[in-house]
């Protein structure tokens, strides 16, 4: 209950209107950063499409369901391509391919060895949580056209996160060890992807701190839903910090 001339309290009195201003979507610096962020999003959706199709080859009984998820990712890719066109931005696809290559390679390796748990962790938990966090932050600062598209996409992504989470939950006893091992290898990659994209994201008024927090919320929720306890989650999340 603050009153009087408290310096702590004075900080609490700040109006949020100035802090919340949207970026200038037409500026060159915005478009330059958008060319990379937009490419990452497009590439991420394409990667997701390919990964779900690939996972379907490991569990043929689920292939139809996975095809459905893959089709949704394709639809998202088209939506985000339209976002770039709308701002007259050409996405920097070579940059995005390089950006995703460590995760892409790890997924391909796990796929070749039939390590389904690792495949699910990379695609359905880490990439989906990364996408959800980025989209949730982006929605708050996007241009009206992209905002509408992203709002539709994010609802679908929660379904995808849920799909992988349900599979891992059902198989937790047999896959826990592999899950923890794969997490230790791949979570730091997510962290480094966030670091790489931080300055471009900042140009779009997306804070790195907020992106990281959103990611950790989606990631933690997902592991919690799978049946891991607080201490196990804390140990897994440690890989993002050290």
């Amino acid at each position: 209950m603050p009153t009087l001339e408290s310096p702590e309290v004075a900080l609490l009195d700040r109006s949020d209107s100035a802090v919340e201003a949207l970026p200038d979507f037409t500026s060159e610096s915005y478009k330059d950063s958008y060319s990379r962020i937009n490419a990452i999003v497009i590439e991420g959706e394409k990667e997701a499409h390919d990964n779900y199709m690939a996972i379907g080859t490991l569990i043929p009984e689920e292939a139809d369901e996975l095809k459905k998820l893959a089709r949704m990712e394709m639809k998202h890719m088209k939506g985000f391509t339209a976002c770039g066109k709308n701002l007259a931005v050409t996405p920097d696809m070579p940059f995005a391919k390089e950006f995703f290559s460590p995760l892409h390679n790890n997924f391909q390796e796990a796929l070749a060895q039939g390590n389904l748990t690792t495949c699910f962790l990379i695609q359905a938990i880490l990439i989906e949580a990364f996408a959800i966090s980025a989209y949730n932050v982006y929605i708050r600062v996007a241009d009206p056209f992209a905002k509408k598209i992203t709002e539709g996409v994010v609802q679908d992504e929660y379904l995808h996160l849920n799909y992988g989470q349900e599979w891992l939950k059902a198989n937790l006893q047999s896959c826990k060890e592999e899950l923890i091992k794969a997490n230790k290898v791949n979570l730091p990659i997510i962290r480094s992807m966030l670091d790489q994209v931080a300055s471009d994201a900042a140009a779009l008024h997306m804070d790195k701190e907020e992106l990281m927090e959103e990611f950790m919320i989606a990631y933690q929720d997902s592991l919690n839903e799978m049946g891991l306890d607080n201490r196990e989650i804390a140990r897994m999340a440690l890989a993002a910090v050290v």
Partner: protein, 346 residues
């Protein structure tokens, strides 16, 4: 189920607690890591009332620390994310503790109802201010006589009089306790004039003047760090009830006849098997807690799942009566000077 949203009193304490709880990834991180840390549901607790009614609750640490007060967007996210977590966990009524309710009100978080895919339902949350205000008033009524001050003869200064808790305290002291004189101290003039009109009395005074004349001082404002109080100018005896947050009045005043009491603190009649009140430096952490937290428990005990304390200046005497009776009925008493806990029967 009831919920409590709290936070550590400092970054240093927060790291120690996180380490104890096994949240090493956060404990080892710097302030930036904490700014990105999600809220944590750290403890489940079961509480049984004197009549044998059992309720369950959860403590959520928002991962906010006071060092983040200067980071406007961070502080806002911490509060909203903790509220979202409470709602996602299906908690019926959750109290916003410590700086959480202050941030909620001052940042006008009512306009942020949509958090990701969750639409916050305000009826699931309470500031707990009604119970806090009632407890502070009862603390005055019980403790002033014990140091030789008759409440009905007393001059009482309320510092932070126009706030949510302050205005409720003024209402009670003027209509129920019937104090001899009420001094209203606050920063802004117009709300003071409005309050004076509503009360039909009370004297608007500056802080120094009020302190020099008051037998009892009720602080319900956050204390500016730089504020210094000249204890020699206080009356003897003088009862000071520190109802603000954080509670730091005892470090600022001392002297003959000056009695400082932590305001808005209650004690449960039995031990509660939790560890979280150690964070708030309670003398008896197994039983003592902030009255705002206890309000969530009371609302759960009474099956009153509504945002009982919400918005500013909505605390009526009737609401204070309701929560006061529930408080006594369900085994809570007020923190008192002589450390002998008396049932705070109204």
């Amino acid at each position: 189920m009831f919920g409590l949203i709290g936070h550590s009193t400092s970054f240093k304490d927060a790291r120690i607690k996180a380490m104890e709880l096994g949240f090493d990834h956060i404990a080892e991180g710097d302030l930036d890591v904490w700014c990105s840390a999600p809220p944590q549901l750290v403890e489940h607790v079961q509480i049984v009332s004197p009549s044998g009614k059992s309720i369950e609750g959860a403590y959520i640490d928002s991962c906010f620390v006071p060092e983040m007060l200067g980071r406007f967007k961070t502080a806002r996210r911490k509060v909203l994310n903790a509220m979202e977590l409470a709602q996602k966990k299906g908690i019926n009524i959750t109290a916003l503790g410590g700086f959480t309710s202050i941030i909620f009100e001052n940042f006008n978080l009512l306009q942020h109802k949509q958090i990701r895919n969750t639409t916050l339902e305000w009826e699931r949350f309470t500031t707990g201010n009604t119970h806090t205000a009632w407890v502070i008033c009862r603390q005055l009524e019980i403790n002033a006589p014990s140091i030789g001050i008759d409440p009905k003869q007393a001059k009482v200064a309320v510092v932070g009089a126009t706030g949510d808790i302050g205005s409720a305290v003024c209402r009670w002291l003027s209509k129920r306790t019937g104090v001899a004189e009420l001094f209203l101290v606050a920063r802004q003039k117009q709300p003071l004039l409005d309050l004076q009109k509503e009360l039909g009395g009370g004297q608007i005074l500056g802080l120094d003047e009020a302190l020099a004349s008051a037998d009892v001082v009720v602080w319900v404002a956050s204390m500016p760090r730089t504020l210094e109080i000249d204890s020699s100018k206080l009356r003897n005896p003088c009862l000071m009830i520190d109802g603000g947050y954080p509670k730091n009045l005892d470090g600022k005043v001392s002297g003959k006849g000056v009695h400082v009491l932590k305001g808005g603190i209650v004690e449960f009649f039995n031990d509660i098997g939790w560890s979280m009140m150690e964070l708030a430096a309670m003398e008896k952490p197994q039983r003592q807690m902030f009255a705002c937290f206890a309000e969530a428990m009371l609302l759960e005990f009474e099956n009153c799942h509504t945002n009982f304390s919400w918005g500013r200046n909505n605390i009526t005497l009737e609401k204070m009566d309701f929560i006061g009776k529930a408080s006594v009925r369900n085994g809570f008493s007020t923190l008192n000077l002589n450390k002998v806990f008396q049932v705070a029967a109204a």
